[in-house]
């Protein structure tokens, strides 16, 4: 199997082309994930582009994105595969007389009656795919075990059919908002990437690429103000996506230069808690 990327720099440039500004860490880990054939566990605060990373990589490599959204109560029939028992039932009733038992038995446990779910689909795909397992911290610890086989061996064992091995090793991204500690077994099988809020320069770049027609001056101001706000002791610091929303709002309002008044009036786009807004407004208006 050929490598998808030539070098770390290639990953970075490629991601930039699909409008995702990666830093050194993101590019290096994505590069390694391809070379080592290992899944990547992406952790970090909400709204820092974890899911977007997987989408952009898929975009970049021209692969199909298969997404498994995790939630509490997710089980193998939703994640891996399920037998289509209604169809099996029909098959049995359709020709009751002609078939012998063993024939029916072999028949109803064939691939025709198998409903593939995202994980199995990613394994069986012929075309290049990127598998995104989103918010993996939402499933219970026991369900995590479902993922282990697929993450380390890239195979799925179905008792009636045998083991299905991947035709090609897909790139796998797992994202986590860190609401609970993931199990050691899962972490051990993954490369770990912590995505944090970008530094000021990168955030400015992000605003410039993602918001059409924004002036350099405004983007610079936005990035600076957001950085100042993040330094405050807040319940929820503004995320990158909220920064972008804010930038778009300012564009819509036709503001070219932010002053304290305008900043205060639009703060509710950046911050979602009343106490946070009050605190930030106070900070922005007072000159210390």
């Amino acid at each position: 199997m050929g490598n998808r990327f030539d070098s770390v720099q290639a990953v970075r440039d490629g991601l930039k082309k699909v409008n995702y500004l990666a830093d050194d860490g993101i590019a290096s880990v994505a590069f390694l994930a391809d070379r080592l054939g290992k899944p990547v566990l992406v952790e970090g605060p909400a709204g820092t582009g974890k899911t977007q990373l997987a989408k952009s990589i898929a975009d970049l490599t021209g692969a199909r994105l298969i997404r498994l959204q995790c939630y509490e109560g997710l089980d193998e029939s939703k994640a891996l595969y399920e037998w289509n028992y209604k169809k099996q039932l029909l098959r049995i009733q359709a020709d009751k007389k002609s078939d012998t038992w063993s024939e029916v038995h072999d028949d109803i446990f064939s691939e025709e009656f198998l409903l593939t779910r995202p994980l199995l689909e990613a394994i069986r795909a012929d075309d290049p795919v990127v598998l995104l397992i989103d918010e993996v911290d939402r499933v219970e610890v026991e369900t995590e075990a479902l993922l282990l086989e697929i993450l380390s061996e890239y195979q799925v064992s179905i008792p009636e059919l045998g083991t299905i091995t991947a035709r090609q090793i897909p790139l796998v991204f797992l994202t986590s908002n860190n609401t609970r500690e993931l199990s050691e077994a899962l972490k051990r099988r993954c490369l770990y990437l912590h995505v944090d809020y970008p530094d000021m320069d990168r955030e400015k770049e992000i605003v410039l690429t993602k918001v059409d027609g924004i002036t350099e001056h405004l983007a610079d101001q936005i990035a600076r103000i957001v950085r100042s706000i993040r330094q405050l002791d807040l319940k929820k610091a503004p995320s990158v996506s909220e920064t972008l929303d804010w930038a778009r709002t300012l564009m819509l309002l036709g503001i070219e230069h932010i002053d304290a008044e305008q900043a205060k009036e639009t703060l509710h786009i950046l911050l979602k808690y009343q106490t946070d807004i009050a605190k930030a407004a106070k900070e922005l208006s007072s000159d210390k």
Binding site: S7, I258, Q274
Partner: protein, 476 residues
């Protein structure tokens, strides 16, 4: 390389990071894929394979810096070359700025000139210049001697004292207005200030890195890594935390409470099965022709405990009380009711402060400034405080209540009045005592935790976040 790597991994383990054998092998595999001269990529390759927890990243960086960033001839060579360029540049700037010719290398600058250079560099955000200046500052002010058994902090302190960075902000502002820049709005000034502070912080880090680099050259990586070893945030002791550690503790607390709350809520729902739900079972039996083949159970709804926190907030244990209160209030959804009391030698209820505002930090601030906790002299008097508690609020302690007593039980040889705790135990569901002191200090000197403890359901050592978290999970 192999030796270096195994030393590196061993040091990571010493610093408290769990690195398994397979992860170690992965790291080896990963660095094979990376061109060695790319330092950043190399660092990330190690980080991605060895560090699996965001909170451990800082510790990893420190160890990495000591082991890899600071050695290797290519590093020194490149640096010196660059530095040469900076010096030439610097001299030019000096000539332009102050009309002085032939200042020679940096060593011959006076302190004042050095400070001016630094100010310019900070104002322009000239990183290369800042790095060169940091080098110079360390060489000049730190007074480092080979083989001297002093920690890096000592040198850092000496350098910073001479540089007087605290006044730098004022000077920069002064210089700006001297330059005749147009007056700017408050918002802009504030942003400008933040930017400057950020740069000064960067400069400090440069100095720190420079000192470390020199120390490693002097003592070797292994010894250095040992002196730099810092506890992970969850292992920092409340009673001896420095200001920086307090900050990182505070940061660590919030995600921790979120995790804890999620875990408790989950436990509540899944823990055990409730009693048989008759109606639901009958309804489902219709699917099976009236045979109750699939029994249905009610959701368990265990009663949430009512919590009363009684905390000593005198000097030594204040930090511990603060963190416990923050933690308890952050997950107050897990309790049916939380009331809190603070005392030194007098006692006051502070529940209202937490109710009035969503912002826990502000509430804590109000507790520290407004609560009426001093009775006579402001030295801990557990006996009197408990008496007052029993007199005023004793009637509110009922069979659903869990009482948490926080403190080191150093009673300054006052009367213990431990009968109050005994009475509490009688009436309340549980009484627990949390002590931030190491177990070996208990019952030494004026500590009478044993006397109180014998009347409680348990005394727990809570020296760091990890222990506190474990206790709270057990409680709810």
């Amino acid at each position: 390389m192999l030796d270096l790597m195994s030393g590196f991994v061993a040091e990571l383990r010493n610093a408290g990071l769990p690195v398994s054998l397979t992860e170690n092998l992965d790291a080896m595999e990963a660095i094979k894929q990376i061109p060695l001269e790319d330092r950043e990529a190399f660092k990330w390759a190690l980080g991605a394979t060895l560090v699996k927890n965001g909170a451990h990243w800082r510790a990893f960086e420190t160890v990495f810096e000591v082991y890899f960033s600071l050695r290797g001839p290519e590093y020194a060579l490149k640096d010196d070359e660059d530095a040469g360029d900076f010096w030439r540049e610097m001299q030019e700037q000096l000539r332009q700025g102050e009309g002085k010719g032939g200042a020679g290398a940096m060593d011959s600058l006076t302190q004042e000139e050095l400070m001016n250079l630094l100010m310019r560099a900070l104002m322009d955000g000239d990183q290369a210049m800042m790095r060169a200046l940091a080098k110079q500052a360390v060489q000049r002010f730190a007074g480092m001697e080979p083989g001297r058994p002093v920690g890096g902090t000592y040198y850092l302190y000496r350098t910073l004292r001479n540089l007087d960075l605290d006044n730098m902000m004022g000077k920069i502002e002064q210089a700006k207005s001297d330059d005749g820049q147009p007056p700017i709005t408050d918002l802009e000034r504030r942003l400008e200030n933040d930017e400057m502070q950020h740069r000064i912080e960067q400069f400090k880090q440069e100095i720190e890195a420079e000192i470390r680099r020199r120390l490693v050259a002097d003592r070797g990586a292994e010894a250095m890594a040992k002196t730099l070893r810092k506890p992970l945030p969850e292992d920092v002791e409340f009673m001896h935390a420095s200001r920086d550690e307090m900050q990182s503790l505070k940061k660590a607390l919030y995600p921790l409470t979120r995790k804890l709350a999620a875990r408790l809520a989950r436990k509540r729902r899944h823990g055990r099965k409730g009693p048989l739900d008759f109606r639901n079972t009958v309804r489902h039996s219709l699917n099976y022709g009236g045979v109750p083949a699939e029994p249905k159970f009610k959701y368990p709804r265990p009663a949430k405990p009512e919590l009363m926190v009684v905390a000593d907030i005198s000097g030594s244990v204040a930090a511990f009380a603060r963190f416990t209160l923050m933690l308890v209030y952050a997950i107050q959804g897990q309790f049916s009711k939380v009331r809190s009391f603070v005392f030194i030698d007098g006692l006051d209820e502070v529940t209202e402060y937490f109710k009035a505002t969503e912002d826990i930090t502000e509430a804590i601030h109000r507790v520290n400034t407004e609560a009426d906790v001093v009775w006579v002299d402001g030295h801990s008097d557990y006996g009197h405080a408990f008496e007052v508690f029993w007199e005023r609020y004793g009637k509110d302690v009922g069979p659903k209540t869990t009482v948490l007593l926080l403190g080191d039980a150093r009673n300054n040889y006052h009367a213990a009045q431990s009968w109050v705790v005994r009475e509490m135990k009688h009436r309340a569901r549980h009484v627990y005592w949390l002590n931030p002191e190491p177990r070996s200090y208990w019952n030494t000197g004026d500590s009478i935790v044993g006397e109180y403890g014998s009347h409680t359901d348990g005394v727990y050592e809570c020296r760091n976040l990890r222990q506190l978290e474990a206790f709270v999970e057990k409680l709810a």
